[in-house]
């Protein structure tokens, strides 16, 4: 099977989620990748992609129309390329989820979303109902369009490959949409979806200042990423991209520390594949304790500063 993987990148670097998607693609067949972007950044990304282990070829589409991965333009680029491929794999990230279904519809293919395992050439496992059920599905369309849950697959090695790079071009700007601006917070912390340790806070943190005062120093001590429950994000303690859950980020770190998070099923959906879950909560009946490996019942306003000072 010939597989095309859409690469997600930033600042000339390949995102970790794409390494997992490349590994998943390798289970299906020969892996070609598509780097869509503009100028030096796109070229650097293509060179980095060519070095990823398991990549056989890199297609590079460099055009201002692809600088911000607008779905309208990127889908129109991918659709004609799919004449040479049996499957398109994208990350199940906000980017991949935006682009892949647009391609699928144009190819008249029913997409398989958010796969967590490959059972056969056309058979996949995917979580449904916020991860409370796992469906095994078999695709019957001539081509496959798939989004891949990055935490469910080991990452391909970033070095070791020596793929060729081939320039491709598409129709360019569809003139349906335009990029206006983005607000992203530069952070020294590891990314949530690839962090080894995550410290996550819930509504019990009271306000933004308290969240910052209690959660951040603990995360700093552990070199951890900072996450949050939906309640904490809705209450404005932290920005939206901190949210872990069914509709936020799906994470699976070595250690997930949930502080003042009761454990609604929508939150559990985003973190229950973590290797070790630690919960700190004053309510001993909180559902989070049903999935936690290590629990501590008590007042987080005392426990967290004490924990931070003793680590």
């Amino acid at each position: 099977m010939n597989v095309l993987v859409l690469i997600e990148h930033e600042g000339g670097k390949v995102k970790d989620a794409s390494l997992a998607t490349i590994a998943a693609a390798g289970q299906l067949g020969s892996v070609h990748t598509l780097v869509a972007g503009e100028g030096d950044e796109a070229r650097q990304t293509a060179e980095a992609t060519a070095r990823i282990s398991g990549v056989d070829k890199v297609l590079l589409a460099s055009d201002a129309a692809y600088a911000h991965m607008l779905a309208e333009n990127v889908a129109d680029l991918i659709v004609p390329l799919m004449a040479d491929y049996d499957a398109l794999l994208c990350n199940a990230t906000s980017n991949g989820k935006n682009v892949a279904p647009r391609v699928a519809a144009l190819l008249d293919v029913m997409q398989v979303s958010d796969i967590i395992a490959i059972e056969g050439e056309r058979t996949f496992k995917r979580p449904i109902y916020a991860g409370n059920a796992i469906a095994t599905v078999e695709a019957s369309d001539a081509k496959l369009v798939i989004t891949v849950r990055g935490t469910a697959f080991a990452k391909a090695a970033a070095e070791g490959g020596s793929a060729s790079i081939e320039a491709v071009s598409g129709p360019g700007d569809a003139a349906l949409s335009s990029f206006v601006s983005c607000e992203t917070q530069a952070s020294e912390r590891p990314e949530l979806t690839s962090a080894k340790v995550i410290v996550s806070g819930g509504r019990a943190l009271k306000d933004a200042a308290t969240f910052e005062e209690l959660i951040v120093p603990l995360a700093d001590k552990l070199g951890a990423a900072v996450g949050a429950s939906r309640a904490a994000v809705d209450a404005g303690y932290v920005p939206n991209d901190y949210q872990v859950g069914q509709t936020g980020k799906i994470v699976a770190p070595e250690v997930y520390i949930a502080i003042g998070i009761s454990g609604a099923i929508q939150h559990l959906a985003g973190m229950k594949d973590s290797k070790t879950i630690v919960a700190i909560n004053k309510d001993e009946d909180a559902p989070i304790f049903q999935v936690a490996d290590i629990g501590l019942v008590g007042d987080l306003f005392q426990i967290v500063p004490e924990l931070t000072s003793k680590l």
């Binding site: 906000s94 279904p101 469906a135 601006s181 917070q185 979806t193 991209d241 509709t247 501590l296 003793k310």
Partner: protein
């Protein structure tokens, strides 16, 4: 401007889904069903656009069983003007839904389609993007802010790195994220009034759409169960556990 709002009847978000013993799916018998929460946000946003004078007419559409009428009545009680039920007892996949919605859009000619970014039952997160593709229109997915500006709409999107704003030419498809708004509750008088608002009954065949499934469900199983672990009694104990894990 007309706004089309597709809504789906799904398991209530507070209910814990149970997998059927025979592995054929999730047991929905005698389970509380509600409007998909993201669709509720879409209905609310459409109503706010109407209250601001930006939208003239709100049409809610649902594709599903006869009981999806209740979901449409909820949308009407919140403030939609009329509804269309495309009735089918089959569970349609996002691609088939998108094809039907495209046919509805051709008929209704909305300036904007507002819909949930995903349904909380199958968690596919596809239908809006597919509709936009088939209809040849731009898409603003995962919206946390929607502003109409003449013949375009500015959409602020919740993306992995933060927020991104795009400008889309109308007509467009916008899919809603959690923080776009807080949906209102329908008042009792409005619930009564909704009963007399028009609700058209259609079938997928009326739109000439082939709804045969493309994915075969081999089985539906329980996820691996996590066992509750141990409770520690003090911070010191927690520190030593964390040290044993090698994180401290």
């Amino acid at each position: 401007m007309k706004v089309l709002v597709p809504v789906k009847r799904v398991i209530d978000y507070n209910v814990r889904p149970r997998v059927k013993a025979d592995g054929s799916g999730v047991d929905l018998a005698n389970v509380k069903m509600s409007m998909n929460p993201f669709d509720e946000i879409a209905v609310e946003e459409a109503i706010r656009l109407k209250e601001k004078g930006a939208a003239s007419d709100i049409v809610a559409v649902s594709i599903g069983p006869a009981k999806a009428q209740e979901t449409l009545r909820t949308a009407l009680a919140m403030g939609a003007d009329r509804a269309i039920l495309v009735q089918t007892d089959d569970e349609l996949e996002p691609l088939a839904i998108a094809k039907i919605l495209r046919a509805v859009a051709d008929e209704e000619q909305p300036g904007l389609v507002l819909m949930g970014k995903q349904a909380i039952d199958d968690d596919s997160n596809q239908t809006g993007q597919m509709l936009a593709a088939l209809w040849g229109r731009p898409q603003g997915t995962f919206a946390s802010k929607v502003e109409l500006e003449g013949d375009s709409v500015s959409v602020t999107r919740e993306v992995d790195g933060g927020l991104e704003t795009v400008s889309l030419k109308l007509p467009a498809v916008v899919t809603t994220d959690l923080r776009l708004n807080e949906p209102r509750y329908a008042s009792l008088p409005n619930i009564m009034k909704a009963k007399s608002k028009p609700l058209a009954a259609k079938t997928p065949a009326d739109y000439g759409v082939d709804t045969a499934p493309r994915l075969k469900i081999i089985k539906v199983s329980e996820p691996p169960v996590r066992q509750a672990g141990v409770k520690v009694g003090s911070v010191d104990e927690l520190v030593s556990k964390l040290k044993a894990l090698g994180v401290a």
